[in-house]
Structures are given as C-alpha cells and as structure tokens.
C-alpha cells in the first residue's frame, strides 16, 4: 500500500502544486460572489475529484498500471493504496479549503468595513456554516468517488469515463423518483432541515454525521473495487 501512496503522490505532486495556485486565484473570485462558505465548499470538492481523475488517467499512460503490477504489490494493495491516496488528498483538500476560507475572512477583518463585500461579511460566514458546507461538499464528492472508483478500477479510466456518467444519471434519476421534491418542499421538510441546521452547532453535527456515513460507504466501495480488480486482465 505504501508503494501505491508514494507513487500516487509522486505522480500528483506537480499537479497538486498547480491546483493550489489555481485554487488561490479561483477563491478570490468565488468568495466575492458566494462568500467564504461557498468558496470553501467548492474548493473542498474540486481538489479530490481532480486528483482522482488525474491518477486514473496516469494509470493508463505508457502502461504504468501494468508495470506497477510487476512490482511486489498485490492487487488488493493497489486498490487499497489508491483509496488511501484519494482519502489523503480529500483530507488535505478539506483542511486547505477551510484554511483558505478562514484566512480570507481574517484578511477581510483587517480591512475597513466599507471595503468588504457583503458576501464576505462575518455575519454571512459563520465558522460552523463554513465547516458544515465544506463537509457537505466533500461528502457529496466522496459519494461520487464511491460510485466512480469501482468502475475505474474494473474498466480503466477510458471505459469508465463512458460508464460513470451513465451510472450517475441513473442514480440521480432514481433519487429524484424516490424523493418527491414537490412533496419535500410543500411539506416544509427542506425548510425544516435548513432551520435545524441554523440552530446551534447543528452544522457541525451534520458535517460529522455526513463524513462518518460517507467514510463507511467509502470503505465498502474499496472492498468492492478490490474484488472487481482481481478479475481484471492487463
């Protein structure tokens, strides 16, 4: 597993450095429009997904995926190593996006109030909401990875790129038909949820629960991927 993590981060290093630079620039524009809450959520979601697809694409370059299996590393270690790499990238993205948002708010706090855009006013960006929104977006991205990773491990990036959108559309369509949006809004379930989130530290409670639930799904996805990867031929 260590071999996978080392090789993944060696391959990602230059991309990660570029991503950090891009995120800094993007955050300046986004925060003006969406505030620190939206910025943190967007960047927290963007980085892990970009890492996953970069790694999957690099696997298929020059037969790296095949060559890697000639190293003393089992297929299960390849899969679990890849999940670990993506999880580490996700945690780093989570911390980075929070740090970026709080740093942005700190800088805004030093400026005269008249200069600070309304979207970045402290009242619009409570810390609990920033953490909750970031956890929520990271959770959504991890659910996407829970679906995408087994397909990528089984079929490779090229084939999976055709299959993943199909699966996502089916899942979304299933969710839409299962959860009747009109019913949810009409009966005030959504507004109740928003009100609950705005109460006390419920954003943090929701964030913790979301991440814990997603982590369980992520681990289950890793075992499914390991099973699928065993049968793949190179």
């Amino acid at each position: 597993m260590k071999t996978m993590i080392v090789s993944d981060f060696a391959a990602l290093r230059s991309a990660l450095l570029q991503l950090v630079g891009i995120c800094l620039v993007v955050s300046l524009f986004m925060s003006y429009v969406m505030g620190a809450v939206g910025t943190s959520a967007a960047i927290g979601a963007m980085i892990p997904f970009m890492c996953l697809f970069s790694l999957a694409a690099l696997d298929e370059q020059n037969g790296w995926e095949r060559f890697r299996l000639t190293l003393p590393i089992t297929r299960r270690q390849v899969v679990f190593g890849r999940y670990a790499s993506v999880a580490i990238a996700t945690v780093l993205a989570f911390v980075f996006s929070l740090a970026l948002s709080f740093a942005l708010l700190a800088v805004m706090g030093l400026l005269p109030a008249a200069w600070v855009p309304e979207s970045l006013a402290p009242a619009e960006n409570p810390p609990a909401a920033i953490v909750g929104a970031t956890a929520g977006s990271v959770g959504i991205v991890m659910i996407a990875m829970v679906v995408a990773l087994p397909l990528i491990m089984r079929f490779g990036m090229t084939k999976a790129a055709r299959i993943v959108p199909l699966v996502v559309v089916i899942v979304i369509a299933g969710c839409v038909s299962f959860f009747d949006a009109d019913y949810l809004f009409a009966n005030g379930l959504v507004s109740d949820l928003v009100a609950w989130l705005d109460t006390g530290s419920n954003y943090l409670v929701a964030a913790g629960a979301t991440l814990a639930a997603v982590a369980i799904l992520y681990i289950a996805s890793a075992f499914l991927s390991a099973k699928l990867y065993e049968g793949r031929e190179f």
Partner: protein, 294 residues
C-alpha cells in the same frame, strides 16, 4: 540447481488468439532470447510468467515456486525480479528521481546508491521529468529501476528498442555483468536479434501461440548456415543426403533460393562450390517460419 523460470505446457485463450503448449525455462547463469513476430505470443507468455494473467492451462514456476496470480506469495517472488517492459512506464508527471522513491517503497532490497550510479552511468538527471525523456532515455531509466534492487532474474520485453547502437552496447555490457555472477538469469524478448547474438545462450522462438524452436544460440550462429542456391542446385542439395529430411527450410526469392541447413560445414564439404553463409538468428527465424520445410 532450480531454474529461475519454468513454464510448462502454458495455454491461454482469448477471443482471437490462443497460446498453447508453451514450454520455456531460464537456468541460472543463462540469457534466454525470446523471439517471434508481432502478436506471436511473446508478451502473453511474459505476462503469465510474471503472474499478470492467469493461464488457462499449464504451470509457471518462479525460483521453483508455483505462480498464483494475486497471491501474496507472488509478491515475494516478484521482489526477486527486475522487469523492463516495452515502454518507460513511469507516470509522465514524475521526475527521474521519483522512480527511486517508488523503488524504495516497493523493494526491501532497494539500493539507492546503486540506482544513483546507474542514473549517472546512463546520463540521467534525477530532476528531469519523465515526460521530457526520449524513448531511449526512458528505457534506460526503467533498466536502472529494474537493476537497483539486485534482482536474481531480469525479464526484458524489448528493453533495447529505441536505443542507439552505442547505448545498446552499454546496456548489453551491463546485462553481461549482471548475469556473470552465475546464479542470475535473463529472459529477453526482442526483435533486435543482433543483440541476442551478442548475449544470449539460448533462443526460443514462438509463432502463432506455439513454440517453433528452442535451440542453443551457438547451434544457430555457429553450426547452422544458409546455402545460397540457384534453382537447380536446391534439389541436388536436398537429394544428397547431407541434410536430413525435414531439417532444411527453403525460401525462394527473386535472385535465387536460400536454404537453411543445420550443419553448414557438412554442406560446404559436400558442395565446395556452393556459398554457405553463417546463419544469423534473424535468418534462422525467418527461414524456419516462412520457409518450406524439406
């Protein structure tokens, strides 16, 4: 002494191709050249040898132990092997030095100073990006990676492809040094048969999924020959009894007929006026695969 690789009766079926009855062995101290046309089954055989694919029939043994794809026991076996496939496989975003980090994580026996020496010998800067390497430099990086953990067996698939003649000679020197210790061996698949003439001990040829011949290299390059005949001389030669029935391979071309004979000295004695050249591995393979067996 236990063979480094033992492949017995290997079979693997795909929709459009089948490998069948492949036997191949690499003894310690030996370099085995594995030749054949494109799509003949070389890479499939190497993949099975490395446990990358599960054979449908037959057995593969590495260092005397049966290979079971996906098993953790295979990891121990793979740690004793250095592999060079037909491309530089490291991710293009990595730097040359990153291969050392990967090697250190992967192999308990990784020798960082040996890797640095090899990079220096090959003129590779650790800071250079893999994407900036030429094909030849990429192959050198892969070879340095394969050698830096002191493997007992090297499996090379077109390892010298893309290298200039001087670099190829350097690589062959390194491979000679590697195998000189006696207990190590090399399985080398290549289309550059002149490299095998310089280094191989045994030649195995595969065609259309089956082994066509297995022969000591010296039998091919020292004993066998190609008689350059006019049309009328072919039948005389074949009827003379100097060549056993079925042992000659005849191929006609625009300017005459080439006859592959197993003993060029015997033919030269019996037909002093006939030109009988030494056979190269390429001659031997081409005439065996394409010539008419007589």
């Amino acid at each position: 002494m236990t063979n480094l690789i033992d492949i017995e009766n290997l079979g693997k079926r795909y929709d459009d191709f089948a490998l069948a009855g492949v036997n191949l062995a690499v003894e310690p101290g030996c370099v085995v050249g594995f030749i054949g046309s494109n799509g003949a089954g070389k890479t499939t055989t190497l993949k099975a040898a490395l446990g990358l694919i599960a054979p449908d029939e037959g057995t593969v043994r590495l260092f005397g132990q049966a290979v079971t794809p996906g098993s953790s026991a295979l990891d121990d076996l793979k740690s004793r092997i250095g592999v060079v496939l037909d491309t530089c496989a490291f991710p293009s975003t990595c730097r040359v030095g990153d291969a050392g980090l990967i090697g250190r994580a992967a192999y308990a026996t990784w020798d960082a100073s040996h890797f640095s020496r090899l990079l220096s010998t090959f003129g590779l800067s650790p800071k250079k990006k893999v994407s900036e390497l030429s094909r030849g430099m990429g192959m050198k990086l892969t070879l340095a990676f394969a050698l830096a953990h002191h493997p007992e067996l090297l499996v090379l698939d077109e390892a010298t492809a893309g290298l200039d003649p001087i670099a190829r000679d350097e690589v062959l020197d390194i491979l000679r040094d590697f195998v000189a210790e006696g207990d190590r061996g090399i399985l080398m698949s290549t289309h550059i048969t002149s490299d095998l003439e310089k280094i191989a001990d045994e030649i195995v040829c595969v065609d259309n999924g089956a082994i066509v011949f297995t022969s000591p290299k010296d039998v091919i390059t020292d004993e066998a020959g190609v008689a350059r005949c006019r049309a009328a001389e072919v039948e005389t030669l074949l009827a003379s009894g100097v060549v056993a029935p079925g042992a000659a391979h005849v191929m006609r071309h625009d300017y005459g007929t080439d006859v592959l004979v197993p003993d060029r000295f015997a033919v030269a004695r019996a037909f002093p006026d006939l030109v009988v050249d030494k056979a190269t591995i390429e001659d031997y393979m081409t005439l065996t695969l394409k010539g008419e067996s007589r």
